[in-house]
């Protein structure tokens, strides 16, 4: 006798899918039918959908909620900390000399396996910014201009050292496929405030340097959580959401008639077979139809005006990281819980000097704009922004002008509600190899993020294959030192 996996399943999946709505045949069926017969709008259905909203399993919250949402800027490919946020004068001095073995022994190495390891000095200068004179690479003056809002973590580590497993680990806390992504956890835990958009949205952009590593859709998959928590990829080209547009030759009004007819017949059928799933399906069709309007509206940046576009440095429809940052703000305004941006092309095995310059042009202004814009609107204090690659890069040279993957120490930054602004946490050794002061791992980062959202990470779990599966695995500790 062991009801809990079952109850869990039953409640997390069936209830999640709002099946209980239809438990009284006269309930949803009748209500929805009324709404369908009444052409004023799908108002009754919408009202139902509203009531039926997933409010999250963390209720009440474990901690006071510092942020309502997360905007996670995934710098895909693995940015070099040594040309961005971690100044290493000693490495510059050692340029061209053998990397002391004491730094590298027993550590994972990717493409440099078995090769001679040579120190490779930082390829760009660093400058002091902000009231504390925080040193960051001079290629990022815009980020420098808002450095007093930002908390740098210079002691990040991860377990994986190849792109795919490292992304999986950064997103799901596991290197095994099939675990829920952090955005799925967040929406599962808290629900979403959005009326007509998914709670977890993903945007991707390409860099111009040509090092665009692949990203698998599993990075935003709900894994073992119900599908409704999966991230929805908003695409820059074609339908922003897959299959969003009505077929050619079908007007919006005609599509509405089709949807209404489907729902009307389904509602009637429910009165005969009394199947709770039918009410859910009716709500889903209404949601889908609403998305056909709400998503194109969301994606249209023209109403933002020239000044706003100038702030971000983007043009409508250019598919750039900057555009995606602006979209992230629009998604945040609409109550989306977890917004994840992937910007690719950080994989500088070669040509790191020019490559970083290109990346700086692509992200520097946009990051500043996002922070500034949110702050102006009073939204920064209720938003957590995380800027992080899946790993960093070696202090050793690869091929004379590049850097290899590196997981023993790199830099990320956080910004927004509950985060100490203008703060630097942790440090790598003098050559930028290992995090030696206050090392932070991925589970810690996840725990911190959940904590800011009001969730104790050890309590947010789901039974799967006999285990209490958590985003933080069996580890993780919130980084209290960086919290206000």
């Amino acid at each position: 006798m062991k009801p809990h996996p079952e109850l869990q399943q039953f409640l997390a999946q069936r209830q999640t899918r709002r099946t209980f709505l239809g438990r009284t045949a006269q309930g949803v069926g009748a209500l929805a039918l009324t709404s369908l017969l009444n052409p004023t709008l799908l108002s009754a259905g919408a009202a139902l959908a509203q009531k039926d909203k997933w409010k999250g399993v963390v209720n009440p919250l474990d901690y006071p909620q510092k942020v309502k949402r997360v905007i996670w800027l995934s710098m895909a490919g693995g940015p070099s900390h040594l040309e961005t946020f971690d100044s290493k004068p000693k490495l510059a001095q050692m340029h061209g000399q053998p990397m002391p073995a004491s730094f590298t022994e027993g550590k994972q190495i990717a493409q440099l396996q078995g090769q001679k390891l040579v120190c490779f000095g930082p390829q760009h200068g660093f400058k002091k910014f902000g009231r504390n004179g925080t040193e960051i690479c001079e290629l990022f003056p815009q980020i420098g201009s808002v450095i007093d809002e930002i908390c740098l973590v210079r002691s990040m580590t991860t377990e994986a050292i190849n792109h795919d497993p490292a992304h999986m680990f950064m997103n799901t806390g596991s290197q095994i496929a099939g675990r829920p992504s952090m955005g799925s956890w967040a929406t599962y835990g808290l629900g979403s405030e959005s009326e007509d958009l998914p709670g977890f949205v993903v945007l991707t952009s390409l860099g111009q340097g040509g090092q665009n590593q692949p990203i698998a859709a599993r990075q935003w998959a709900a894994g073992l959580l119900p599908s409704r928590f999966q991230g929805v990829h908003l695409r820059g080209k074609g339908d922003p959401v897959l299959y969003l547009s009505s077929p050619a030759g079908v007007t919006h009004a005609q599509q509405k008639d089709v949807v209404n007819t489907i729902n009307k017949i389904n509602a009637k059928y429910d009165t005969i077979v009394d199947d709770p799933e039918i009410a859910t399906r009716i709500v889903q069709y209404e949601m889908a139809f609403k998305m056909q309007t709400s998503v194109p509206e969301l994606m249209d940046l023209k109403p933002e005006g020239a000044k706003m576009l100038e702030l971000y440095g983007c043009q409508p429809g250019d598919g750039s990281f900057a555009s995606n940052c602006l979209l992230a703000r629009r998604l945040a305004e609409r109550g989306v819980r977890f917004i994840q941006l992937y910007h690719k092309d950080w994989d500088h095995h070669g040509g790191v000097k020019d490559g970083i310059r290109l990346k700086a042009l692509e992200i520097d202004r946009a990051c500043m704009a996002l922070i500034t814009d949110l702050k102006q609107r009073g939204m920064l204090e209720e938003t957590l922004i995380v800027w992080a690659g899946e790993f960093g890069r070696t202090p050793m040279s690869q091929g004379g002008d590049g850097r290899d993957h590196h997981n023993a120490g790199f830099t990320i930054w956080l910004c927004g509600g509950g985060i100490k602004p203008g703060f630097v946490f942790g440090a790598t050794d003098e050559l930028g190899y290992s995090a030696i002061e206050n090392p932070v791992d991925v589970h810690d980062l996840h725990a911190t993020m959940l904590r800011l959202m009001g969730i104790e990470h050890t309590k947010l779990s789901v039974k799967f294959q006999g285990l209490d599966v958590r985003l933080t695995g069996i580890a993780g500790k919130s980084i209290e030192e960086i919290l206000t």
Binding site: R218, V259, Q465
Partner: protein, 1029 residues
């Protein structure tokens, strides 16, 4: 009688009907949040009754979930040095004093009020309910009897009263115990649809529904079952679940997620189900088909199972890392597919809930250490998998090749004669070559500024600038004493125009003057020049001759080496500090050349012919009688490979080889298992860390907790593993497979957690039923069709699925089977159904995976290489869902929306979600729009004369029943409106009808067809359409 079901009832039923909706929902979401997070508050209520607590049913779940993490099998995390999973230990430590709860430490601790004493401790975030505590107390009072975990004890076959279907008997028995009544049989229309969807995954045609409804014989169902089980679509239907659980996919999974050849394995699975390959054989072939004596092609293809794991081609992947990943991937797969064990945790430590040791995990992984494969990188094409016809053709081509080879190898007098001539000429050339020594220039400069690059072979390659006239100046030291001649070799090179040797556009050059000087002295004079291509050589060497545009050039003989030999008037010996300077004046410059010297006057008159490659020349310079047999053979083979006399035979052989090779490459291929005589060393990796190489080395061994100690004198193989999995004494395999089979026909497993029959899984409420099925499966010789027949011919299966609120309240998940269940069709079947009812479906079995329409750019985040997606043209566009290209990292979005798993990991269970993306797919995916149009065409063509008849026809076609009056009215209203709109906008009608590869008939009224297309879209979107009931 208390059951879990009542706890759910307790939990869900109250006030449900009386209370208004809002309040009910608020209650639910509040309860939901409590339940999802703290799990078990209510189930203890179920057993607060008179009945004695049972260890397996009541106690183990509490201990496993709350205590074993720290007081269980894993000694590394064990606290307080005692364990509760082994009775002796618990009793020895007084944790449990049988019969005396008041003296038991466990009871003291769980009832403790002091936060420092209470168990489980607060940091575990586990809270025992009062009822659970009470249960534990009663159990100890009863003497604390332990039981072995139910699934590790061999199943016992219950006796069934004669003449009864055992399934019916066992379910009814249970229903009587819990006080429920079976539902009436389903109506014929529901029954026929259920059987079609469950057994072949396709809807019945209206005439098939009618025939079944008319068949009043008692055998109507079993006749239909026999017909469906015998149809080739049965294998397709059964394959879907198996392909999920073995994680079959067309791509490798990690990073670049590139394609690999495994689809013949999918066809193998379909065929196995169709031919009712018994499950023990099926198991052996998949794990060890390659190890079976004289294994057949089919058995080898079965062994592709071992290649279905994730692999990587990412640069910088570390072999030890992926070796560990692959081992654990395979262990997880075998455990999931056959044992229903979630053994993955034992990668890093002994299992916390089940008695699985880390050693068991790696020993199981060691069974696969013999598989021959690269750890990182491409897997290659695999072996050719021809069908019978293709195999015959391949045999024919192989024989042709053998014949051509024989002809080429046969003794041939005329070739021997030609060889003798050739050998003489070439031997001379080889001797001549030996007389020359190439020298390495110290400097090489061009007046034009071109870069002269001196190569390791002593040749000089010109790059960069060109000029109308050009002079190269080369200097040499260490020139041997007494040189009598110089040689200039003009050599081809891939970077030169026409491959050179010259730099002009035609690959030619024109050497007009050669001057040799010893630095600081007079020039050296020549007494003659010879070249393999004639030119005005005298002007080249005569310093007094007027330099003309004529000199030495090679005209059109590009891409070959040429030579110019220059004789010195007198032998030359340089002093040790002297340098030789060579000037080459040219009109069109040389691109690649080499300078050589000779001290042998014979070299000046020897042949102007380059000898064959060094390894041949080295033989040629040996006199014929001193060559050994191998050298002779090499020489003759070389001759045959180039001689004009052998051209015909050679080409015939090359053609025959190529024909066979091309044909073989064009055949389907499949990755299969093969064994390497040197298995990889498998070590226990402490905490799963592949960087630590200090763990014990292990050999293949069966899990000790299931098989006992099982070392033998020899290394166990994958075949031993397979044999054990399907051995009668294995308590798990048959239960696991039957539990999954049950799920296919009843919606849920008899043990609910189908992928875990371990301690954290569920003791099946009707264990006698699962055990009976497991025993019968083994007794029948692992006969899958037999078991399917038993299931679907039972009355339990044939019950109505229309439930009542009252029943749902008592048994919300239908665990007691007082009725059938209803569920949304699986992703592939949603597609199959639309294609079938619209007449588009192409019922071909097997073959390469197909690509249905997919939104542009969906693969934009794939790379290495960047990929475009081209929808499959022709009939293959309309194949069933199980043939859709399975791209792990970007599964086809319409399948994904309906919860098809990506198959990166074994998936015994699919979500059955109900999300907006499903609506978007059915409404807007061109596959469904095209199917709607095709259905509309059929309705207009075959549906009858008037609208009502046509609507009724379409309705029957999709739903196997006539529409009700209100449904007709609703449809008619939509149709009228759409028709008027398309009449007003014919261009819109055209646009809609253009969707899809199949052109719409132009003869039909386009506006009418468009309106009907939207009507058909409604039909394909209906809940009833995509529901199996």
């Amino acid at each position: 009688m208390s059951t879990e079901l009542e706890t759910i009832v307790f939990f869900l039923r109250p006030r449900q009907i009386e209370k208004n909706r809002t309040q009910f929902m608020d209650d639910l979401s509040r309860l939901r949040s409590i339940v999802c997070r703290s799990i078990v508050l209510m189930f203890a209520l179920s057993t607060v009754g008179a009945e004695k607590p049972s260890y397996n049913r009541d106690i183990r779940p509490i201990l496993s979930d709350n205590c074993f993490h720290c007081h269980g099998p894993d000694q590394k995390t064990r606290k307080g040095k005692f364990r509760l999973d082994v009775r002796e230990d618990a009793v020895a430590k007084n944790a449990i004093v049988p019969g005396k709860p008041e003296e038991s430490e466990v009871i003291a601790r769980i009832f403790a009020s002091n936060p420092d004493d209470i168990m489980p401790p607060s940091e575990a975030h586990k809270v025992l309910t009062t009822a659970q505590k009470e249960l534990l107390r009663r159990w100890i009072a009863d003497g604390a009897p332990y039981e072995k975990h139910w699934a590790y004890v061999p199943p016992v076959k219950s006796a069934i009263p004669a003449g009864k279907n055992p399934i019916d008997a066992l379910v009814r028995q249970r229903l009587r115990q819990v006080g429920l009544k079976p539902a009436p049989p389903a109506d014929p229309r529901t029954m026929v649809r259920r059987l079609y969807f469950d057994l072949i995954g396709l809807p019945p045609k209206p005439e098939e529904v009618e025939a079944f409804a008319k068949d009043k014989s008692p055998d109507a169902v079993s006749h239909l079952v026999e017909k469906l089980i015998a149809s080739p679509q049965f294998g397709e239907r059964m394959a879907i679940g198996w392909l999920d659980v073995v994680r079959f996919a067309d791509t490798i999974g990690y990073h670049s997620d590139t394609p690999r050849n495994v689809w013949p394995y999918r066809d193998y699975v379909i065929k196995a189900f169709n031919e009712n390959k018994h499950f023990d054989v099926f198991t052996r072939e998949q794990l060890a088909g390659d190890l079976l004596p004289n294994s057949t092609l089919e058995e080898k293809v079965g062994s592709a199972f071992n290649k279905l794991l994730l692999s990587t081609e990412e640069g910088g992947a570390q072999p030890k890392d992926y070796e560990a990943r692959m081992l654990t991937d395979r262990v997880r797969a075998v455990s999931a597919v056959w044992l229903g064990q979630t053994i993955g945790c034992a990668q890093c430590h002994d299992h916390k809930f089940d008695p699985i040791k880390q050693r068991d995990f790696y020993s199981l992984g060691a069974f696969f250490a013999d598989i021959d494969e690269p750890i990182i990188g491409g897997r290659g094409p695999g072996i050719a998998v021809p069908d019978d016809q293709q195999a015959a053709e391949l045999k024919r081509l192989t024989q042709a090749r053998t014949r051509a080879q024989k002809a080429f190898d046969a003794p041939n007098e005329s070739w021997n004669a030609a060889f003798a001539v050739w050998e003489k000429v070439q031997a001379e050339a080889a001797m001549q070559e030996q007389r020359w020594t190439a020298l390495h220039p110290i400097t090489a400069v061009a007046t034009s500024g071109a870069k002269l690059q001196i190569e390791a072979t002593n040749s000089v390659l010109a790059k960069g600038k060109t000029a109308e006239t050009e002079t190269y100046t080369l200097t040499f030291s260490n020139v041997p004493p007494g040189i009598v001649g110089l040689r200039l070799e003009a050599l081809p090179h891939p970077i030169l125009p026409m491959k050179g040797p010259g730099r002009d556009a035609a690959g030619d050059f024109n050497l007009t003057r050669v001057t040799v000087k010893v630095a600081g002295t007079n020039r050296i004079t020549f007494n003659g020049a010879r070249a393999d291509v004639e030119g005005d050589l005298s002007s080249v060497i005569n310093e007094n001759a007027a330099e003309t545009s004529k000199g030495w050039s090679i005209e059109t003989q590009t891409n070959q080496a040429h030579q110019l030999i220059l004789g010195l008037t007198a032998p030359l010996t340089l002093a040790s500090n002297e340098m030789l300077m060579l000037e080459l004046q040219q009109r069109q410059a040389l691109g690649n050349f080499r300078i050589g010297f000779t001290t042998n006057t014979e070299a000046l008159t020897g042949p102007l012919r380059f000898p064959p490659a060094k390894e041949i020349s080295d033989i040629l310079v040996i006199s014929a009688d001193k060559r050994d047999a191998k050298q002779k053979e090499t020489l003759f083979a070389h001759f045959k490979s180039i001689a004009p006399e052998t051209t015909k035979a050679r080409e015939r052989l090359a053609d025959a080889r190529k024909a066979r090779q091309d044909y073989e490459a064009s055949l389907p291929h499949c990755l299969v298992s093969s064994t390497n005589a040197q298995p990889r060393t498998v070590r226990i990796l402490p905490r799963g860390n592949f960087l630590v190489e200090t763990g014990d080395i292990v050999s293949p061994a069966l899990p000790v907790y299931l098989a006992g100690t099982n070392t033998t004198g020899r290394r166990l193989t994958r075949l031993d593993l397979a044999n054990w999995l399907v051995a009668r004494e294995n308590p798990l395999t048959a239960r696991v497979v039957m539990n999954r089979l049950w799920k296919q026909f009843f919606g849920l497993g008899l043990s609910r957690v189908v992928d875990d029959l371990g301690a954290q899984g569920e003791l099946p409420p009707n264990q006698p039923l699962l055990d009976w099925l497991a025993c019968e499966f083994v007794d029948s010789g692992w006969d899958m069709k037999h078991m399917v027949r038993l299931l679907v011919n039972s009355e339990v299966y044939q019950q109505s699925s229309v439930s009542s609120k009252k029943l749902r309240a008592r048994d919300p998940l239908n665990r007691e089977l007082a009725g059938q269940s209803r569920w949304r069709l699986d992703a592939e079947l949603v597609r199959d159904n639309a294609l079938a009812v619209s007449g588009l479906l192409v019922e071909k079995i097997g073959g390469p995976s197909v690509k249905p329409y997919q939104p542009d750019g969906y693969w934009e985040n794939l790379n290495f290489p960047v990929r475009s997606y081209d929808a499959t043209p022709g009939p293959d566009q309309y194949r069933r869902g199980l043939y859709v290209w399975w791209q792990r990292s970007y599964l086809h979005p319409s399948l994904l929306a309906f919860d098809a798993p990506t198959r990166e990991e074994c998936a015994a269970e699919r979500n059955r979600s109900n999300i907006p993306q499903q609506a978007l797919v059915l409404l807007n995916d061109p596959s469904y729009v095209e199917a709607s149009r095709a259905l509309a065409v059929l309705a207009l063509k075959d549906g009858g004369a008037d609208t009502k008849a046509r609507l009724t026809w379409a309705w029957r076609q999709v739903l196997s029943r006539a529409p009700r009056a209100d449904e007709l009215k609703t449809m008619q209203a939509l149709l009228d409106k759409q028709l008027a709109e398309y009449r007003a906008d014919p261009a819109a009608a055209q646009a809609l009808l253009k969707i899809g590869l199949t052109p719409a008939p132009q003869t039909t009224d386009q506006s009418e067809l468009a309106a009907w297309t939207n009507l058909a879209r409604v039909l394909l979107n209906l809940h009833e359409t995509i529901t199996r009931s």
